[in-house]
Amino acid sequence: MKARTAWGQWPAAEAVINTGCDTVLRVSISELVQAPTENNLSVEEVHCFEHAGVLGLIPDRVYKVDGQLVASFRPDAQAIRVAAQAAGITVEMVAPDGAEFAMRSQYAVDWVLPVLAGATAGVPCQILATLIAARIEGCMRRSEKPPEVAFREVIVEDGKVQERELRGPAREVEQLLRKRAESGDDSRSEP
């Protein structure tokens, strides 16, 4: 028996990708500019987002593909962006100038939400809770177990910009986000 860590993944470069399907696919060699889920926000920027009531959506990865800078976001970022804008919140896609937007999916047993920054309490929490509730309902309809959910946000702690992750059963995370939306808890970052 081999260690579980060795199980389950192999780089796409070793896989033979048949191009007989309808879409020709390219496997590009990418230059990683910054590590996944790492952001370049400064403490001032995070505070600025919070005070201005701006919701920042952070890309999971920013990297170069064929010379073009690409910022790839989690697929749920679009639903969150549109719902937040409809609720009157200013949304900013936090990506370097000139970066092309794309979506990033990564296999994970858990459902990983996009990283949020700034005005994440209140309405955004309500939006996320609704999103999770819809997913739970879909799972129940198909008699599936709802996934674990990871909610991530940028906070300022000990004078540094850090990412905080809340991970747990979908129902529990949904309830927690609803509570936070109701209480309007906005005390994540140091003043």
Binding site: M1, K2, R4, W7, G8, Q9, W10, P11, A12, E14, A15, V16, I17, N18, G20, C21, D22, T23, L25, R26, V27, S28, S30, R61, V65, V70, S72, F73, P75, A77, Q78, A79, R81, V82, Q85, M93, E100, F101, A102, M103, R104, S105, Q106, Y107, V109, R142, S143, E144, K145, P147
Partner: protein, 254 residues
């Protein structure tokens, strides 16, 4: 709709194992399992009606019916539990009437049995990771450049994100693939190929004739939460299903 098929070769306990299967579906939102169910049943009925008058047409219809039923089952196991047995019954009829042969994949040196029936027993799915670039089906805007949400309906038209490009980064073998139809995963070893193709005889599949799946699914088949989460057990089970279907017809495959 297009489907990305992937084949990967690796060593396990000194044996060369190939895993192939569907890793990604694109071009449409996930289909409604109820619609797949209805189409599968219609095709099956049609196939049975024309079985004597137009056998080749009947064979195509019945094989297509199996694929629809398998997809419906994979997308909603509990609601389509009866299709598990129905697909096996149709499979047994096809096998006895037309026979089922595996395809020789000379590029990889294996016999491939890509019949959907094996996906009913599969405990191994493929789940890809990577970056995709797409555009909105309603307005053509690139990602994040419009306010349409994929999956939502606007004035009677459903928004779909059409993928223009996918840069693969990894493909995981898992019991919980993002797309349930990606349980269409087949494991092969080169040994079976050598045994079978030595005489240049393509392997035949007797699975549906022998499998107790004709009597219906087990509780395990209906509930992935009950499956062992040991990756190597999954893989071994996948190889067993594929190998038995190809080379050991006397062994019940599930």
């Amino acid at each position: 709709m297009s489907r990305l098929m992937i084949t990967s070769e690796f060593q396990m306990n000194g044996t060369t194992v190939l895993i192939s299967g569907a890793a990604l579906y694109e071009g449409e939102q996930r289909p409604d399992p109820a619609a797949l169910r209805r189409r599968g049943q219609r095709r099956a009925t049609h196939g049975l009606v024309v079985l004597e008058q137009a056998p080749s047409r009947a064979e195509a219809l019945l094989r297509a019916a199996i694929e629809d039923m398998v997809d419906a089952f994979l997308l909603d196991r509990v609601q389509n539990a009866d299709l598990f047995a129905r697909a096996h019954q149709i499979g047994a009829l096809i096998e006895q009437t037309f026979s089922c042969a595996c395809v020789i994949d000379r590029d990889h040196g294996t016999l491939v049995n890509d019949c959907g029936i094996l996906a009913l027993h599969s405990r191994l799915g493929l789940s890809p990771g990577g970056t995709t670039w797409g555009h909105c089906s309603l307005c053509g805007a690139k990602d994040f450049m419009c306010d349409h949400i994929p999956g939502s309906v606007y004035e009677g038209e459903k928004c779909v994100r059409n993928i223009d490009r996918w840069d693969a980064e990894e493909v995981s073998m898992t019991q919980r693939p993002r797309e349930p139809r990606c349980f269409r995963t087949w494991a092969h070893t080169k040994d079976s190929y050598a045994r079978r193709v030595g005489g240049n005889t393509p392997g035949r599949c007797w699975h549906c004739r022998m499998c107790r799946g004709r009597g219906g699914p087990t509780t395990d088949d209906l509930d992935p939460a009950q499956w062992s989460d040991d990756g190597w057990s999954m893989l071994e089970a996948a190889i067993a299903v594929a190998q038995h279907a190809v080379t050991r017809p006397s062994i019940i495959n599930d």
